[in-house]
């Protein structure tokens, strides 16, 4: 397993840092060079992540392309990266969204206005590095390092290039997420020191073998508290109702690319963390808490949809729709069936694509009209037919129209939660209601912007889409349709890993054979 050379994962992880270093030496004034260096870095990273996908063995549930270096051996902490069915597609999503984000900021108004262009792209690349790190790292401490490092560039992106109330939003974002994650630090320090190692696969193996155990007797015993320590951090990131209040602020105030990355990747770090760490490390606690969490998720689905419908601010509307969509993902995870978890993984990708697309569209409208008020628009289809057509696809994808990607994710999640042994059927029913609500608020969004009469004078002469705007929207539309029509290539890679994961968490409900030693009892 361990190879002596550089693993492809390591290369993908550190490429953004290479671009970061090159960028450092480009003078501030050379705007063109700065932009294209950043874009080039992200595109090369994306290409390499595709190579990684091509070399990925979908049938193997274990970690692949593993690389381990010592870092603090005496504490059992080491650099340990690898990909499996859970994180491979997340890495590709990250590199994809980052390329989109960087390309979309090329003629962003706010950067010209506030300046410091180089700093902006430096933060983008730093953010990319940290996000890839969060997904590929298999060591708790290093994971935490990357997890916290994502905070810093995002804080600056919101704080420097954000909207009117950017300082408030940035500080709120920082404190909120830090409050959650620092409790996770305690929990993971406890887990690591008890286990003697911080390498996640080893900890999970130890838990499976029964050599490491965190007792669970009752809802607030050791394992539960550890579980909650991790869960709260992830829940804030996702965000799960009622911990979502930072999200609308951050989303609304962030610059367009910031919102796209926030929705497209950063939120997924939370749901990914649940699958990667919560379920296998604390299986009993996960099962015990599943109904409560699923309840919160369902509340989030309905609440997000409801509030979204009431918004008059485009960005807020999309932000609350995120709360609703992420509720689906959490529900799928805590259904604890392989279908549900696979649905969650593909839904993470879908949400990244469609919500990212929505934020891009909102951003483009904002660039042209300098307002986010829904009432300021109407009949835009007539002024910008291309944007209208693209938006229609994205909106339909976001509301879960069959034939587009959103449907695949939501459908599999509902299927998975229906077959769940830990959740009742009620959750599925209410969640399905969320899909109907989604149709209402998304169509409302589309109708009020693009349909109707082009009756406002300012809207009549909106500039056409720039080349880079088209270049970021087209891949999104293509992917939305592609995943919708042919989801198999996107779902298959996670098959084997999810199967074995579910077997570890709820051994008695799966058909996988190697159960006797997997069960560990109380």
């Amino acid at each position: 397993m361990e190879n002596t050379g550089l693993s492809l994962v390591t290369v993908v992880l550190f490429l953004p840092l290479v671009g970061f270093s090159i960028l450092l030496f480009i003078p501030d004034a050379q705007s063109r060079n700065i932009k294209y260096t950043a874009l080039g870095t992200s595109l090369v990273t994306f290409a390499l992540s595709l190579v990684m996908w091509a070399n990925f063995d979908a049938a193997n549930p274990a970690l692949q392309m593993v690389q381990r270096w010592e870092w603090l051996p005496q504490y059992g902490i080491g650099y340990y990266v690898g990909i499996d069915g859970l994180n491979m597609i997340m890495v590709v999503l990250t590199t994809f969204i980052m390329s989109i984000g960087i390309l979309s900021s090329f003629n962003a108004h706010v950067i010209q206005e506030r300046g410091r262009e180089k700093l902006y792209y430096l933060f983008m690349l730093l953010l990319q590095w940290a996000m890839i790190g969060v997904f590929v790292v298999q060591d708790l401490i290093i994971f935490y390092i990357f997890w916290e490092v994502t905070l810093v560039p995002m804080y600056f992106l919101v704080g420097i290039w954000g909207g009117e109330k950017r300082v408030y939003a940035a500080v709120k974002f920082f404190l909120y997420t830090m409050a959650g994650s620092i409790l996770m630090l305690l929990a993971l320090l406890y887990v690591g020191t008890q286990a003697g190692t911080f390498a996640v696969p080893e900890i999970i193996a130890g838990i499976q073998a029964g050599t490491i155990s965190f007792p669970l007797d009752g809802l607030f015993s050791t394992q539960s508290i550890l579980f909650l320590g991790f869960f709260i951090a992830f829940a804030i990131k996702v965000p799960i109702w009622p911990l979502h209040s930072w999200l609308p602020d951050a989303h609304v105030q962030a610059p367009t690319a910031g919102s796209v990355i926030l929705a497209g990747v950063l939120l997924k770090m939370g749901s990914y963390g649940m699958i990667r760490f919560l379920l296998p490390m604390f299986p009993e606690a996960s099962v015990a808490w599943a109904p409560i969490i699923a309840l919160l998720a369902v509340i989030g689905i309905i609440y997000g949809a409801w509030v979204s419908f009431a918004q008059t601010d485009m960005k807020k509307l999309v932000a609350y729709s995120s709360v609703s969509h992420m509720g689906f993902i959490v529900l799928g995870i805590f259904a604890m069936t392989s279908i549900g978890i696979q649905g969650s993984i593909i839904q993470m990708v879908n949400h990244g694509i469609s919500t990212g697309g929505l934020f891009l569209i909102v951003g483009m409208l904002y660039e042209r009209r300098h307002t986010k008020d829904l009432a300021a628009f109407g009949g835009i289809w007539k002024a910008m037919p291309l944007l209208g057509a693209i938006s229609l696809v994205v909106v339909l994808s976001s509301m879960g129209m069959p034939g587009l990607n959103g449907f695949i994710g939501e459908f599999t999640i509902l299927l998975g939660s229906m077959g769940s042994t830990v959740l009742g059927i009620g959750f599925t029913v209410v969640a399905a209601l969320g899909i109907i609500l989604a149709a209402i608020y998304m169509l409302n969004f589309f109708q009020r912007i693009f349909m109707g009469e082009l009756d406002k004078e300012e809207n009549k002469n909106l500039p056409k889409l720039e080349w880079n705007e088209i270049a970021v929207l087209v891949p999104i539309v293509v992917l939305a349709i592609w995943i919708g029509l042919q989801p198999a290539p996107f779902m298959n890679p996670s098959d084997a890993t999810v199967e074995s994961l579910v077997a570890q968490v709820v051994p008695d409900t799966t058909t996988v054979a190697q159960l006797p030693e997997a069960g560990q009892g109380e």
Partner: protein, 504 residues
């Protein structure tokens, strides 16, 4: 009959780094008299050269444990690491001071001599294995600091700082002496190893003697608590830190803490770890120290929230940081954890040293350019002097405990050992107050980057002098290096073993 020691039994070679600094400070005091006023840079070189010499000497003897002065001074890996940190602090602060002293017109050679004395005092404290030497070293550390605080003498705030520090410091010393006397009364010795040997029996006997011992330990804790600015013995800190010349504040916020914690760890771990009610349980002082740590973190961080002056903010932050180190001290009370906790505390102190010196370097640069160190003076720094501002961001992040900085490594190790000691409540207080601290650290960043400068940036006053620039750069390098490659220091701290010297 009196046993007369010979020079060999004194074994002064083991204490060479500390002795060389103390001796050279005396000589430099004389040399400086004949250095003309416009060539005081020579004194700086002479002082710095001595520090570099001591640094190297300390590295050379790092692996050789030994004791000098008949067991009063122990040169082991603990004092080795402490010495490295202390000398590093002194070096950075000397470089930091030169321009500042020149600018405010208090350029006097005594300054550097006093810094050397403090350095020697801190080094003696970290290595002292005897209550008497601890007291003497404490005085050697404190008295020059009183003078340094008042060094900007006609300035009324500086005078107030010196006076306040002197009066409260004298109180603290009295507590320490009284505590030492009580411990001596209970055990009949001032040597920490011998105290350790008899302490367990005395506590087990549960007689009035054990009361003396406990009271003595408590008073020692009070005395050193003053020095490290632990709540509730912290009241002097903000006024002194704000009033003292800024490089002095930088220096004393680190050096006094290092000395204080060096002695505290030695007294508690070497001398008092056997002070348990029943064998195998945590030492009786663990809960007391833990409560102090909790209070210190809570009060330090919460009061820091409302500070508008960065120097004052950093003063409260230094109180809070004392709380985090105290956490490790408390954890050292659990059987078998002493070494792990000590190592955690050492890494934390090193990280704090770099971070704090760096932050103060930036404060000095801003004071010089913008005429003050209020939060308002940092507005727009990100535009006016981006390098400086980015450095400050790193230091603030390190103080918050964000990864890739030394502050994170220190905090992670300290939290881990606290959890291992079973002090979960304390660790939770620690992380929650870290979040509180994030607010006021981030506020500095907000002012530097997120609030556009309303005015005063175009003037572009000469940024910062070479010395300050160097210190900030070195501190930045240290902070980041420690965060990215902590092995560099854990290689040294792993050899630290405080308990091993317990056999008398």
């Amino acid at each position: 009959m009196l046993q007369l020691p010979s020079l060999e039994t004194l074994n002064m070679g083991a204490a060479l780094p500390a002795i060389s600094i103390a001796a050279w400070a005396c000589i430099l005091l004389l040399i400086d008299l004949w250095i003309p006023k416009d060539r005081k840079i020579l004194t700086v070189y002479l002082a710095a050269g001595n520090l570099v010499f001591a640094f190297i000497a300390n590295l050379l003897v790092f692996n050789q444990s030994g004791d000098s002065f008949m067991g009063m001074y122990v040169a082991d890996q603990f004092s080795g690491v402490m010495n490295l940190i202390i000398i590093g602090t002194a070096l950075l602060s000397i470089v930091l001071s030169f321009d500042y002293l020149k600018r405010v017109g208090i350029e006097r050679g005594e300054y550097y001599v006093l810094v050397l004395f403090v350095t020697a005092g801190a080094m003696f404290m970290a290595a002292a294995n005897d209550l008497i030497l601890i007291f003497v070293a404490l005085e050697l550390l404190s008295i020059p600091l009183y003078v340094l605080s008042a060094f900007r003498a006609p300035d009324i705030r500086s005078e107030e700082a010196g006076m306040k520090y002197f009066l409260l410091g004298a109180f603290a010393s009295a507590f320490l002496v009284f505590g030492g006397a009580m411990v001596y009364g209970a055990t009949g010795t001032t040597n920490l190893n011998e105290i350790a040997a008899s302490a367990g029996m005395i506590i087990a006997s549960n007689s009035s003697t054990s009361l003396f011992l406990l009271l003595g330990a408590a008073l020692l804790l009070v005395g050193l608590g003053f020095k490290v600015a632990a709540v509730p013995f912290h009241e002097w800190t903000p006024d002194v830190y704000e009033g003292a010349p800024t490089p002095v504040t930088a220096f004393m916020s680190v050096a006094a803490k290092l000395g204080g914690f060096g002695s505290l760890l030695r007294i508690l771990v070497v001398g008092m770890s056997a002070v348990t009610m029943t064998a195998g349980e945590p030492a009786v002082w663990q809960n007391v120290v833990a409560i102090l740590a909790g209070l210190t973190m809570i009060v330090g961080n919460i009061v820091a929230l409302s500070q508008a002056n960065i120097k004052r903010m950093l003063a409260y932050s230094s109180i809070a940081n004392a709380g985090y180190i105290l956490m490790a001290v408390a954890a050292a009370g659990s059987p078998g954890l002493a070494n792990e906790a000590t190592r955690g505390a050492l890494v934390y102190m090193l990280a704090y040293m770099f971070t704090n010196m760096g932050a103060f370097a930036v404060v000095i640069a801003v004071e010089r350019a913008n005429g003050g160190a209020d939060l308002e003076h940092f507005v727009g720094l990100g535009k006016a002097r981006p390098m400086l501002a980015i450095m400050m961001v790193v230091f603030m992040m390190s103080l918050t405990g964000i990864p890739l900085t030394g502050g994170f490594i220190g905090k992670a190790l300290v939290f881990a050992t606290t959890l291992n000691a079973g002090l979960v409540w304390l660790a939770i207080i620690g992380v929650l107050t870290s979040v509180v601290s994030a607010y006021y650290y981030v506020r500095v960043i907000v002012n530097m980057f997120l609030r556009d400068a309303e005015a005063s940036t175009e003037e572009a006053t000469p940024g910062y002098s070479t010395g300050v620039q160097w210190v900030a750069a070195v501190a930045l390098g240290g902070t980041v290096l420690l965060g990215v490659l902590p092995t560099l220091i854990t290689v040294l701290t792993d050899r630290v073993s405080l308990v091993a010297s317990i056999t008398p």
